[in-house]
């Protein structure tokens, strides 16, 4: 592996497998020059950065879709074989999760919308599964990927800001959609203009404050999840740098602690998203 120094090792572990567009005339890491604009796999972190917006993190997309399919496949299987009699082990687990999410939605969401509960279930289980990937020792999958000729491989989609922002943007769009749908464009605008200070002279101030508050919602959602997962990942990588015989003394407690963090972050993300959506459904 390309890990000569600790810094390089860490940087290597924190770079995504990027497939993107390199512009014409770009000089690659090995000194060759791209003759025409091409889509290719980035070989270095610098190349990945230079690809700009027109690039896809193959590992993030692949693993997040894999986890989503795993979630839906498992739950669909359970739903298809659901019995009203005595439930089996899988159905029990699925129903426990469903009831847990129903509990969150019942406590937090005050509107009437049949989409919210399944939405919360999807967020909770999907994020939980993606977070859980972090418990796989940091070198296992990248080593296998390296053997297959892939330079970088970061398996936890929630340690990629694209992963978390992608979900929170989805939530943000739903907030906007339901704000417009429930309050109407006029009502929504009125809410933005007259809260928190109900006076016409303070409308610009209110607008700035409320629009900021609105935009902060998805940003805080995404950054909270990303920050927690990323920091945890960095600590795992640092522990992996220790001598082999002492790694377990730190790695085991940290992993056990992270079992809590993984569930907690999925729970917080889901609950806050439902809170925001509930606020979007409140018509004053």
């Amino acid at each position: 592996m390309a890990a000569d120094t600790p810094v390089e090792y860490i940087r290597h572990h924190l770079t995504n497998l990027t497939y993107g567009k390199l512009p014409e005339g770009y000089e690659r890491a090995d000194g060759s020059v791209v003759e025409e604009t091409t889509w290719t796999m980035a070989r270095t972190a610098q190349e990945a950065a230079d690809m700009g917006f027109m690039a896809v993190h193959v590992d993030t997309m692949g693993w997040s879709i894999a986890m989503g399919v795993l979630f839906l496949g498992l739950f669909r299987f359970a739903a298809k074989h659901a019995t009203t009699g005595q439930p089996g082990g899988l159905q029990n687990m699925v129903e426990m999760t469903v009831e847990f999410v129903q509990g969150i939605v019942r406590d937090v969401f005050h509107g009437k919308n049949p989409i919210i509960a399944p939405l919360a279930l999807t967020m909770f289980v999907w994020i939980l599964l993606m977070n859980t990937l972090k418990l796989i020792p940091v070198d296992y999958i990248p080593t296998v990927a390296h053997a297959m000729g892939l330079e970088y491989f970061k398996i936890v989609p929630t340690t990629d800001p694209n992963g978390t922002f992608g979900i929170s943007i989805g939530v943000f769009l739903l907030i906007l959609f339901y704000s417009f749908k429930v309050k109407g464009p006029g009502g929504f605008l009125k809410e933005l203009s007259f809260t928190p200070f109900n006076h016409w002279s303070l409308i610009p101030f209110n607008l700035v404050l409320e629009i900021l508050a609105l935009i902060i919602k998805p940003v805080s959602l995404a950054l909270r999840l990303f920050g927690n997962m990323y920091a945890g990942e960095v600590v795992f990588i640092l522990i992996a740098l220790l001598p082999l015989w002492i790694q377990w003394t730190l790695g085991v407690p940290w992993a056990i602690f992270h079992i809590l963090v993984i569930v907690l972050q999925a729970f917080i993300f889901t609950t806050l998203a439902v809170v925001y959506l509930s606020a979007a459904h409140e018509d004053h």
């Binding site: 917006f53 690039a55 997040s64 739903a79 129903e95 469903v98 399944p118 992608g166 979900i167 989805g170």
Partner: protein, 156 residues
């Protein structure tokens, strides 16, 4: 840590997952759960009803038992009464029959006695006539003296 198309890809993936979950995962699971809830509620109420039914049935059974006992007692009493009545009746009948037999016997005896007396009377009359014949040494005209003889016989 670069922001790129992954962002949009992730949002699309999220939207598709949510759509699938809303459409194909959530409804059957919650339906099964509420159906089970209803089943359990029905089962519990059925159990309640059953225990109530049992109580009622026990009460009814006890009542039936009581009535049956009373009926049996009444029957036995009636039977006893009837038996004693039958005994009384047959006693009375026997007494009557006996009395009748005795009366009959009495009547027969009386009849016999009367007959015997008549026979005796006739015989005595004949004897008296024979004696008188002997005494008078001549035949008595039975016809001529029949009046006297009858008077004599009546006196006997």
């Amino acid at each position: 840590m670069n922001i790129n198309l992954t962002l949009i890809g992730q949002t699309i993936a999220f939207a598709i997952f949510v759509w699938f979950c809303v459409k194909y995962v959530w409804p059957p699971i919650t339906e099964a759960m509420s159906a089970r809830q209803k089943k359990i509620a029905d089962g519990l109420s059925a159990a309640d009803r059953a225990s109530l039914d049992l109580e009622l049935a026990q009460e009814k059974a006890a009542q039936e038992m009581r009535t049956a006992k009373e009926e049996a007692a009444a029957l036995i009493e009636q039977a006893n009464k009837r038996a004693s009545q039958i005994v009384e009746d047959s006693k009375g009948e026997a007494r009557q029959e006996g009395k009748k037999l005795i009366d009959q016997a009495h009547a027969e005896i009386e009849q016999e006695r009367v007959k015997a007396r008549d026979d005796l009377r006739a015989e005595v009359a004949a004897l008296a006539v024979a004696g008188a014949e002997k005494i008078l040494e001549k035949s008595v005209d039975a016809n001529a003296h029949s009046e006297m003889l009858d008077k004599l016989a009546a006196e006997l």
